[in-house]
Amino acid sequence: MTPPITDRQLDLLAERLGSVGVGRRDFLLVAAGLAAMGAEGFNARPVSAAPKLAPGEKLAKDQTFRYGGGGWYQVDPASHDFNKDLYCQGQVTLFAGLMKFNADFQAVPYLAEKVSSNADGSVWTFTIRKDSRWSDGSPVSARDFEWSWKRQLDPASAAPYASFLYDIKNGEAFNKKQITDAGQVGVKATNDWTLEVTLEGPRGYFPVLAAYLAALPAHRASVEKYGDKWTEAANIVCNGPFVLESWEHNKQMVLRRNKHFFGAKDVTLEKVVIPIIGVAAGALPYDGNEIDLTSLQVADLRRLQGDPRTARQVFRYPFPGTWYLLPQTTKPPFDNLKVRKAVAHAIDRENVIKVAQGFALPAHSMIPPGFPGALDDPKVRALQKFDPKLAMSMLKGTPFEGGKNWPKIVLSMRDEPLGAKPLAEAVQAVLLENLNMKTELEVLEPRVFRERLWKQDLQFVWIRWFMDYPDPHNEYFDTFYGKKTTGRRQAWVNADFDRELEAGRDTRDTKARLAHYAKAEEIMQTDVGYVPVAWVVRYAAAKPWVRGIERNKQGEQVVEGNIYLNMLPHLYLVERA
């Protein structure tokens, strides 16, 4: 009998293997293999660490945690049906997927106790833990996942973001009605506890996708009984750490610990209250002690930081995303490569980000530091190095030489908070100063913006990409792939670029994959398909009695964001001093 492996040993092993070039995914295979050999340790890995109390501190009797504001749950969720609409803005901790993302944005097993693949990574097998239950007490089985993923791909359910599952064999064909037999879709429960997923080709990143919202399950009986209303509080059956106790639309949601959840004993919070608070309210509810944790908008950050009573409650947290410019290559003057190059060299990133007052860092490529595929290539940096003289000299030989004769240029952006507009205005200012390029900033209503964006009807776009899952496939393929049929943001296409993305997708070896994406970034910046400007960071404030906020390897506190979503199971409250 192999002795149980502790968490620390697992992490240590991951680190050591990492230092000799074994990626996290390969490590997972090793770990899964170890688990398969019978080590109980892997299975027994707790969902969250036990509360650590300082001397004299006591766990609060009332473990009711309240959070929201500053952009969190600013509008009433459309539903909690991530299986149908992964941008439904619902509460993710109601559900547990096969994998989840930890505070380091790595995909780790959640409901899966074993993840393995064939040699080229085109068939993945997930073995599901037998002790996980839906909130009605029934077991969560591989069949639930087969049904859920097929439901999302089924054209009848009209899931708007089904394309995230197109890596599954015949997933795209089934979703686009080219085949009608769901049996041909490459996801199959070979028994109650084994899910076998056959992909369109080698997909080294599939475990990462399996940790993403797109792969969350839905409860079949409830969906069949209640249809679109199945995630209302009265109807919902879920399998995550929490259940939805009540949901007063446009007012508040109340979650309660799910006693059927397999890791329920590791969850300390009993109740979570989430009021729906518009961004305009700022941090007022936090100031008034109505919530314990809030995300912050630009205006409140300075105020809370400047007040000695609240300064220590404020912290920065990662929210991987990238602000960039899209010069539409089909519209003058950006159909001229020299103009696009001039723009790339005219952006004074160091200064532009100052107006975001801490909410942005200067960006020189698509992927922020610390994520797989992040680049710090001097060759790429040189392509968009800020140099006003060089920028102006790019215009030589164009009709715009010397910064003259610019046509009317409209910079369009989506209406959104968090300092998006000041950043756009700063970009306008540096373009005016360095290229004498006058632009008009047009702030469009989100729906209108998206419609026109996808028609590639906008001349010049200020836009961001928030990372969905931490793999370059998301940052490049889901964003810029030229053969995308829906939701393509830019008219720019480049065959070489597309080939690199396809190669990156179809390669199993992590190092070789990342090399393809590095090449893709270089091609895109050489042809100026986009101009990176800023990486996103955010700030939050937590009352002193809120504990258990996870930290990543860099020591930053990590709260609910765009990849890390399972914050609540880790939190606990101590008695207020």
């Binding site: 305009a280 700022g282 908008q297 630009v298 205006a299 409140d300 300075r302 105020r303 004074d348 200064n351 532009v352 100052k354 107006v355 007052q357 409209v410 209406d415 908070p417 507009k421 000041p422 756009a424 205005e425 700063a426 306008q428 200012a429 540096v430 005016l432 100063e433 008009e440 900033l441 047009e442 702030v443 209503e445 209108v448």
Partner: protein, 304 residues
Amino acid sequence: MVSSTPVFGTDVALSPRSEAIGPARGTSLTRDAFRRLVRNRLAMLGLIVVVLMCLTAIFADVLAPYSYTKTNFGRLNEPPSAQHWLGTDQLGRDLLSRMIYGARISMIVGLGSQAIVVLIGVPIGALSGFAGGRLDLVLTRLIDVMYAFPRLLFVILLMSMLGAGLVNIFIAIGLTGWVFIARQTRAQMLAIKEKDFVGGARALGAGGWRILGRHLLPNAMSPIIVAVTFGIPEAIFTEAALSFIGVGINPPTPSWGQMVGEGQQYLRTYWHLCVFPSIAIAVTMLAFTFLGDGVRDAFDPRQQ
């Protein structure tokens, strides 16, 4: 009716050939009105402020200490200082300079949109009142339908269809603002066309268009002038409201409403961003309203 009270039309009826109002040829009505206006202290105060605003708008290039696009990323959101009298904004631009250029936008919107309002509203009202009959019925119903729409909502609707921008603001305000003036003009027409001097003109052989243009319209001018004086601040405020919610003037062109909109989220951190442009809007609105009240009272003392 007390005989000494001037009544619309009656004075002019004595000189039916009078073509326009103006101090030069002067009718007793206009001269009286002017005298009453000058005596009204509040109105004069309003007028002075309005004139100052207009001068600021015209000479913005000379008056503004900095360019309204000149950024200084090292000095963001600074409070008022000797160098920047009203402080700097989120991009380190001089707030005073932006407000001075903002006055230009406000004045252009106020005057420009009222020009459109008059060009649409007066002919429709005049035609409706003068022609009567079925045409009047159709036009009156049209006016009623336009009245039924909540004005600002209709403007927002138009702006979201047309897109933001100065010209579109003219169009949106013009298309929604003409109804009041049209109604006023029509009412005047109905009253005046029954007067003796109109009958006299007709007896002398004047045609319909001549009567309308040379006898009716000039005598209907005073309520139109009053309506325009009130229309200007309303248009300025509408532009401010539109820019406040982000469908008005596009950055980097400064507009007071836009400045308030961007500044209000920083009210507790950088108060000056929101407070100064708000004061500018308030003072301008007040000045025009005082002036408008004065003009109305001057033309129609019975309303006092």
